[in-house]
């Protein structure tokens, strides 16, 4: 766990220094101590969860959580939830901002294992089940809670285990690493988001070669 963490802090520092660079030397002069403090803070914040141990989940629960999140966002030629460290994000979430969902997890994980045993005699843990068995059980759990999400993030708490772990998997995969997920920017790479925090135009395919407002307008009027 130690190495990727250092890279988080480095990326964070890089962002702050780049931002400072854009503002020019004078700005850096006045803001320098603050920038260093912010970089330090980011470093500590990231290091704090770098123990590699689980604080809330038992080892068996952690195995099941990891197996579930690895099916929600699987690994293919691009990193998935496993590589992004989503299980660690969820463990920390259950201690912090999502502590009120702990009961939903406790019951949901128990039920997930029960479903596996009921459907596949001999199987005892979701974590040890075959991929086909895992997919069938998850489809059953997902089917119980048709999604009715509204636009927005985190505004729709749900008491369904599947909805809750799906949302936390998405968070853990894709939030900015300062929020404790998306290890090594694994999630951003997988969706094609450049892990930089400062950009300049042109941004993409369509604005490349844009002639400027007046020229584009004149061209449109000629047509």
């Amino acid at each position: 766990m130690a190495k990727p963490i250092d890279r988080h802090a480095a990326a964070r520092r890089e962002f702050l220094w780049r931002a400072a660079g854009a503002a020019g030397a004078a700005w850096v002069g006045t803001q320098w101590p603050a920038i260093v403090a912010a970089a330090q803070h980011a470093h500590h914040a990231v290091s704090a969860k770098a123990s590699g141990k689980f604080e809330i989940l038992t080892p068996e629960q952690a195995r099941v959580v990891e197996a579930i999140v690895s099916q929600i966002i699987p690994t293919d030629d691009m990193p998935g939830a496993k590589e992004a460290g989503v299980v660690y994000f969820i463990d920390r979430a259950l201690k912090t901002f999502a502590s009120d969902t702990l009961e939903i997890y406790q019951e949901g994980l128990k039920r997930t294992n029960e479903l596996i045993s009921a459907k596949y005699p001999g199987a005892v843990s979701f974590a040890e089940a075959t991929p086909e068995q895992q997919l069938a059980v998850l489809a059953e759990l997902a089917g119980e809670s048709p999604s009715a999400r509204q636009r927005g993030l985190g505004l729709q708490p749900s008491d369904s285990f599947f909805e809750t772990i799906q949302m936390h998997t998405v968070f853990g995969f894709l939030v900015d690493p300062s929020a404790g997920g998306n290890r090594d920017y694994a999630g951003w790479k997988a969706v094609g988001r450049d892990p930089e925090h400062t950009f300049s135009a042109p941004y993409g395919y369509y604005d490349k070669g844009y002639p400027g407002w007046e020229a584009a307008k004149a061209e449109a009027e000629r047509k």
Partner: protein
């Protein structure tokens, strides 16, 4: 800068106490202190600065570090006055120094002439209380210019044929065009419309000691880490504090306006961070607490002298809530737009600003913008086409395919003022301080919903013309959540039908002024912040003149 040069004792009578440090409170603090007055600004939230702002979505969206929190300040909702309201999160506003100007998108359109005279031009509308403003666009024009130059707006004057007259160009060129802007612009021209570079309260050039936008992509919902977003926090409060006459007092939750037996305000009672109560004494009180908390504070200030709430002889406090309508259409393009880079909006069109309501059969008007305001996580939760799997291989594939190729067309429109749409005090639910919770009563006027559907259809046509092969629209629903908090202490000449006069002075209490979204008489077409700030600059001039004329001081 959070520690200013001056600190007043609550018992010391200052010239003005301002409640709220957001879009209007920041402007009034800056103007009044610059004009030589001693000012205390009470802000219920903390004083965060650019160094505190992060891209941490959990802190911002889940823990609501920058906004009101429903656990601390619950709200209740009902559709009609005969229902019992149920507990439901129904408003969002910035609860930090700088208010909602800190986390907003920064679309900065001026209102047009029509917005001020619509009551007489198209009214009356059945089921609505649509009336003219007591001021016109012409009265406000100099102050719009002031906002552009002092707060900092990027844009291109004359680019929209629908723009109202202006006395000065923008102080900065527009921000760069985004991929969403280019495809939207071309399609709009193709269909005979008039797209133009979006006016944005974001610096395209370094200005006034602030940095230009670095295009990080964390704009809507977040505080700007480089101060490029033109907020009250970045542009107004530092100037106010530099006068040495203005104290910003954070973690100070105003709950009552104190009034003497002559009916004059004597100051504002507030809870400090430890929930101890104080009275900040002042010669004049200016409430800029937003369109939800301003009426709530007046209602909380009821007394035997003012049994229906302070400044409420008209009964209009809290009424005519207008949240603006909105509708969304999405399109996915073949090549990467990479619209996650940068601010949200680069192109806008106002061809539908003034629609022919007789021909269409409904009242209204609006503007369309092309944008992308998702983070990767919020996109995965709500940016994929309907029916896309939410987990597994196909989910991941869709994220990879669509995240860089999706844009939204956001339709913004009018809300009609309806008297029963309102904020009031809930009779049962209390906040963490024991004060009655905010209750929202709201049901869209049918014309507002028709307008949204109509504009959404036009947006779908633009997406088709732009070449988006996959297109979909978010269902139009009755609104139960308000971010634009407008109209709830409306301005007017008649004390029987309005709460404040055109000087922002309450009709009932001569040294009590209100200035924020609550002052608006009509809703505009969906981008109210610039008008709120223009009103604040104008109110500061009016209040200064009254104070210098001896009409406020005791």
């Amino acid at each position: 800068m959070t520690q200013g040069k001056v600190a007043y004792k609550p018992s010391e009578e200052v010239d003005f106490v301002i409640v709220g440090s957001g879009a209007s409170g920041g402007v009034l603090a800056k103007e009044l202190s610059t004009n030589g007055f001693r000012v205390v600004v009470l802000e219920q939230g903390p004083y965060l600065t650019e160094n505190d702002f992060t891209h941490n979505e959990i802190e911002v969206f889940v823990q609501r570090q920058l906004t009101n929190h429903p656990d601390l300040q619950p709200t209740t909702f009902r559709k009609t006055p005969d229902e019992k309201a149920r507990r439901q999160s129904c408003v969002m506003y910035g609860r930090i120094v700088g208010g909602s100007s800190v986390h907003f998108t920064a679309n900065f359109w001026r209102f047009h002439e029509i917005d001020f005279i619509e009551g007489s031009k198209v009214g009356p509308i059945p089921g609505a209380s649509l009336v003219d403003w007591p001021i016109t666009y012409k009265d406000l024009e100099p102050y719009y210019t002031k906002v552009e130059w002092e707060v900092g707006v990027s844009g291109l004057a004359g680019a929209s044929p629908f723009d109202p007259p202006r006395s000065k160009p923008y102080p900065m060129p527009p921000l760069p065009v985004k991929g969403s802007g280019v495809v939207f612009e071309r399609a709009a021209w193709k269909l005979g419309y008039h797209p133009f570079p979006a006016p944005m309260a974001i610096l395209s050039r370094p200005r006034a000691g602030r940095d230009a936008c670095v295009n990080c992509g964390f704009c809507l919902g977040f505080g700007c880490e480089v101060g490029a977003k033109s907020t009250s926090l970045s542009a107004m409060i530092p100037v106010a504090q530099a006068t040495g006459r203005c104290e910003i007092r954070p973690n100070s939750y105003a709950h009552r306006i104190a009034v003497d037996r002559n009916g004059r305000a004597t100051g504002v009672e507030y809870f400090d961070a430890r929930r101890a109560t104080h009275l900040q004494r002042a010669k004049g009180v200016v409430v800029c607490a937003n369109g939800a908390e301003t009426p709530r504070l007046l209602l909380l200030s009821a007394s035997s002298q003012f049994p229906n709430g302070l400044a409420n002889s008209s009964g209009m406090v809290g009424k005519n809530l207008m949240p603006n309508g909105n509708a969304l259409a999405f399109g996915v393009f073949d090549e990467p737009l990479n619209d996650y880079k940068g601010f949200a909006v680069s192109r806008v069109m106002h061809d539908f600003y003034e629609l022919d309501h007789e021909k269409l059969g409904f009242y209204g008007g609006g503007g369309l913008d092309a944008r992308f305001d998702f983070t990767p996580a919020s996109f995965a939760m709500s940016g994929l086409p309907p029916g896309t799997p939410r987990w597994g291989k196909e989910f991941k594939k869709a994220l990879r395919q669509n995240f860089t190729r999706t844009l939204e067309i956001f339709c913004h429109g009018t809300s009609l003022p309806v008297e029963t749409n309102s904020f009031s005090l809930d009779p049962d639910v209390k906040d963490a301080w024991g004060l009655p919770a905010l209750r929202m009563t709201f049901r869209d006027h049918p014309d507002d919903l028709k307008l949204m559907s109509w504009m959404q259809e036009r947006a779908m046509e633009i997406l088709e013309a732009a070449g988006a092969k996959t297109r979909w629209q978010a269902p139009i629903r009755e609104q139960q959540f308000a971010v634009h908090l407008l109209g709830t202490c409306r301005m007017g000449n008649d004390p029987k039908t309005s709460v404040i006069n055109s000087d922002h002075r309450t009709h009932d209490v001569p040294n009590l002024f209100l200035c924020d979204g609550s002052s608006l008489v009509t809703s505009g077409r969906g981008q109210p912040t610039m008008t709120i700030q223009a009103l604040a600059f104008r109110a500061a001039d009016r209040i200064t003149a009254l104070a210098r004329g001896g009409e406020i001081g005791s």
